[in-house]
Amino acid sequence: MNELESTDAELLRGKLRIAQLEREAIERSGDAAKGLRAHLDRYQSLVLAIAQVIWTSDPKGDMVGEQPSWAAYTGQNFEQYQHHGWLDAVHPNDRAHNLEIWERAVTARGPCEYEHRLRRHDGEFRYFSVRAVPVFTDDGAIREWAGIHTDITQIKLTEQSLRDGERQFRELADAMPQIVWAARPDGHFDYYNRRWYDFTGRPEGTGGDSSWADVVHPDDLKESLARWHSAITSGDAYEIEYRLKRKEGDYRWYLTRALPVRDRAATITRWFGTCTDIDERKRTEEELRSSTSMLLQSNRELRDFATAASHDLQEPLRKIQAFVGCLKEEQLATLNAESRNYLDRIQNAASRMTTLVSDLLEFSLITSKGKHFTPVNLNEVIVGVLSDLEERLAKTGGRVELLDLPTVASDPIQMRQLLQNLIGNALKFHRRNEPPVVRISAEIIDSPDANGRAQPGGTCRISIADNGIGFDEKYLDRVFAIFQRLHGRGDYEGTGIGLAICRRIVERHGGTITARSKPGQGSTFIFTMPLLQKNGGNHG
């Protein structure tokens, strides 16, 4: 090879070498670029992953250079966000404030913090908290600002919803007819609804411990303080009835109840209470109590009156009978048959009057002087009654057929009166030449009371059937009315009060009485009574 050939070869080798170097250079820079790209990608991913946006700006606050985080979030491209272009991504209403903060920060050369709404690449505005710090050069000048946006949208929403919740609560509390209040766990009152301020006439928003103490009636205050203290210590519900003074100066009765609110650890975080106006009810209760007491008093007075009246009415009758008796005994010889007849009639009338007054007294005392209800075995009562009626039974040749009777909560003496009257009647009103036969039976039924409620223990229905003269059922009401008779005065002895007494007794026990009958075919008197009584039956 000659000299030229070797130079060309070297040139070629040189070119090849350059080409190789160039290739290598390109390849190496590609690696670097790739490496850089990879770093960039990682950086971007990191940046995007931290829900925060980071950026830098020049000392004046203009964005310069690539701002990938900002770009990625806002969707603005390079041209768009350069210099003050980034403001376009800020919500229009927040821009002025934003700039103001910036200017101050730049002047002050110190960090700043503010909030604004930033538009996301999809157009949605979200809340951000922004913090920007200056980066200083060695000689103290600001080289650039570094900033970080933190998404606080969720927090803002939560705050808003809390505020909404709070507002809704207040609206509800103000709409309620009751006074509503709230207190801290230590018992300090920190909220009253509008009703409270309307009621007390105090300016809205005032409150605190001392307020409510002034409003409570002095006689009720001690008890309410004690109970409130006990409630906040124990965590049990608070409840009290007391009088509150309204702005007009008068007191009204209120029922206050409060319950604690607990967090997940069951610690009390708040007390909520209501005060409900129960003044009407309290006053009604008072009136009822005083009415009842007046009625009881009236009952007592009536009873005393009836007793006194009966005594005073009986006195002249006794005299009539006594002195007519004297006349008959001492003057018998001087009296002719007619005189003796007159005297007999006088005595008779006086005697009937005595019985009448006595029966009237009995009638009037049934409710006011009745005894307490105790269990009474009616079979035993019948035995006593039949013993009293022995004479009449014998005289009429009558007989009584008795089926088993229940034990009933009742006044024993009145049961005696009731059965004596009914059985006595059954024997009295017998058919001529027909010995009376009386059948007494009972059954237990479940009949509701006047309000349709079932009687505890059930009801018994007792029937007293006779084979006597009977009566037309169209007179049924008269039969139980006082002084009403279906026969002439002389036909059958009696005052016409017996069945009225029966009805009153039965009604006092919460029962009913009626009769079935046909003239000439006997009668059946039926009464019902609850087996148990709710109260003792004492009417003073």
Partner: protein
């Protein structure tokens, strides 16, 4: 009655003049009315027993061996008088028989609670009243031993 026994003085407290008359007659029928005194109300009854007021002269108010007591009297009724007598050590020995028109259970209980020795419901007719007086006389003056009562104060 034995020779040694003085006749028993009967004192009746009753506001009704007719009743007083009837009782006298009833006692009379059985010759028990020899020493029969009456007072019209509880106050005079106590005055009589304490020999006070118009009964100060001892002759006017000999200590009775038995008192027949009506319950319904003005000024001071039978219950009050009964309570007072039975509370007084000087008078409580005197047997008191309540003789009244009432037959109400609570009147009977109340009389016995206050210490009456017995209780009789006045019958209406004179003859029955006379029978009662006879039985009364037999029981209290013959069957029963009466205590001695210091007479005078």
């Amino acid at each position: 009655m034995g020779d040694n026994e003085k006749s028993i003085i009967i004192l009746l407290a009753d506001d009704d003049p007719d009743d007083r008359e009837m009782t006298r007659r009833a006692l009379d029928k059985h010759r028990l009315a020899n020493d029969f005194y009456t007072v019209p109300d509880g106050e005079e009854l106590l005055d009589f027993l304490h020999h006070r007021g118009k009964y100060a002269p001892p002759a006017a108010s000999p200590t009775p061996g038995i008192v027949l007591l009506d319950l319904n009297m003005p000024k001071k009724d039978g219950y009050e008088a009964l309570a007072e007598i039975k509370a007084d050590p000087a008078l409580r020995r005197i047997p008191i028989v309540v003789l009244t028109t009432s037959n109400a259970e609570q009147d009977i209980s109340r009389a016995y609670d206050l210490g009456s020795n017995s209780f009789i419901s006045k019958p209406i007719s004179l003859s029955k009243l006379a029978d009662v007086m006879m039985v009364l006389g037999q029981y209290w003056f013959q069957t029963v031993k009466l205590p001695s009562i210091p007479s005078g104060n």
